[in-house]
């Protein structure tokens, strides 16, 4: 794990009273939940953005304003709505999703989808019409044309995915409500993420350990941004 060196550096600066594997497991849960949610969001958002970028249909403006509203949707409200959905009393109650990673993924999906859709849409609309026409003329099917457009718009789409990922991984309100911030008694996270762990540490007044976890979260976000930007550059050179 690339984070282990950071952890070993820390004891000299602050006390770091976590059990073996604890920090690693909350990093894992944070990444698992956010990456899964963002991947699902992307699979959903890209076709929607393509559809909205290329065709006209009644109610398009309404859909657009719903997406724009969704970008500012408060995460705790999303958490509350997902809680109502997955609670034993809710419509999905039989699935026993409350206090699981799956419930957290659901709320982060709802949170990440509007920014990913909106920013992808802007990127797709920014692609020169000539590119699309050329692909058509060369005998491309609809899928071929879509792929060409996505390729042209990849920087914007990468930005969109990063924006969605940023919203998902830094989110604390909804994952606390639907996830329950659970660790096992052996100190391994089940539904505790970096953000809810920071919240817990701050709640107990252990600001120094909260800061360490905050630094880990920041490092994680920076790393992932760097990796995505790097991938984009390599793609451009090809």
């Amino acid at each position: 794990m690339p984070f282990e060196p950071v952890v070993h550096l820390v004891p000299g600066i602050v006390e770091f009273p976590f059990r073996e594997g604890y920090v690693r497991s909350i990093i894992y849960v944070s990444l698992y939940v956010s990456v899964t949610a963002v991947a699902l969001s992307t699979l959903f958002s890209l076709p929607v953005a393509m559809l909205m970028g290329f065709s006209d249909f009644p109610g398009k403006q309404l859909v657009k304003s719903i997406i724009n509203t969704g970008m500012g949707f408060p995460s705790v409200v999303v958490g509350l709505l997902v809680l109502f959905g997955v609670s034993n009393q809710g419509p999905l109650g039989d699935l026993n999703l409350i206090f699981t990673k799956e419930a957290m993924i659901m709320s982060q999906f709802v949170l990440a989808t509007p920014p990913i859709t909106a920013i992808s849409l802007a990127a797709i609309r920014g692609v020169d019409d000539n590119v699309r026409d050329a692909a058509h003329v060369l005998g491309g099917t609809r899928v071929d044309v879509a792929l060409v457009v996505i390729k042209e718009a990849r920087y914007g789409i990468a930005t969109a995915i990063l924006a969605g990922f940023g919203r998902a991984i830094s989110e604390v309100g909804s994952v606390l409500i639907v996830g329950g911030n659970i660790t096992s008694s052996s100190g391994i996270s089940k539904t505790r993420t970096l953000t809810t762990a920071i919240q817990l540490e701050a709640r107990q007044g252990r600001y120094d350990t909260a800061m360490v976890l905050g630094a880990v979260l920041l490092a994680l976000v920076l790393t992932i941004n760097a990796v995505v930007v790097r991938l984009g550059d390599e793609g451009a050179m090809r």
């Binding site: 699902l40 997406i67 034993n88 659901m106 096992s184 008694s185 089940k190 701050a202 709640r203 252990r206």
Partner: protein, 309 residues
Amino acid sequence: MTIQRRRFVAALGGGIVAGLAGCSGGGGGGQSESVGVQGETLTLTTTTSTYDTGLLNDIHPDFEEMYGVTVDAVAQGTGAALESARNGDSDVVMVHARGLEDEFMRNGYGVNRRDLMFNDFVIVGPEDDPAGIRGMDSATDALNAIAESEATFVSRGDNSGTHTKELNLWEAAGTDPGGDWYQEIGAGMGEALNIANQQGAYTLSDRGTFISQRSEVDLVILVQGPIEGGPEILSNPYGVMAVNPGVHDDTNYDLAMAYIGWITSPGAQDAISSYEMNGEQLFFPRAVSEDPDFQQYVPQGWSSDSSDE
């Protein structure tokens, strides 16, 4: 769009569950074979004090090993813990507000309530004690002194067991707190202690959380609870209840009952009494006693409320 999204979310949930069908052993299915709880998960909603003090993480491995199960402890505060249980989102609930527990039982949501353990509340505040309550024998006199001097008082304001106790104390003191000096923060005990610490304010704390956090704050105990000879009104009893399978048929009732049986057993009660932090005992077992108290099963006001149902 909204409808579409909801449908998608539902499909997503279904897909995930289908995908994980093999490893989702928890929840339902336990009732037909009453012995086969192995591999299942017990969801316990509880108050922050049992969790934040580290007690549950200390004693649960024994139970988990004995039955081959996992305990998911969700620390929510007494009010929220009971609400989760009411919704069938947990299997067993461990809280500290007898009045709310009785209501939960009377309304048919809980079964087999057992007294579990107790500790006490203390009134903590800054060393210089502006309201002059140090060493008072009466908790209500102390609160009235704080109110009269309008010294800052931090209230949990979160419908937790501690908050409920605090409101009961104000009522007993005959004072209706309000004004700039009375701050409802709507947060957990640890946060309340931090906020009180930063403002040089008073607050009501359970002894366990205060001890576990003492090194982080400059607050001191000014009025003691019954453990150190203070008034009985500051006692803090904890109870444990299973969620009624008649109300929510997919709760893990067998495992909940196994849990209650285990945690009220001499072994677990010993483990509770030997759990220490900074050399101090935090919780005092109450389930094992020579003269059994059958009142623990019967909520107060049972007959009057059950007659109109």
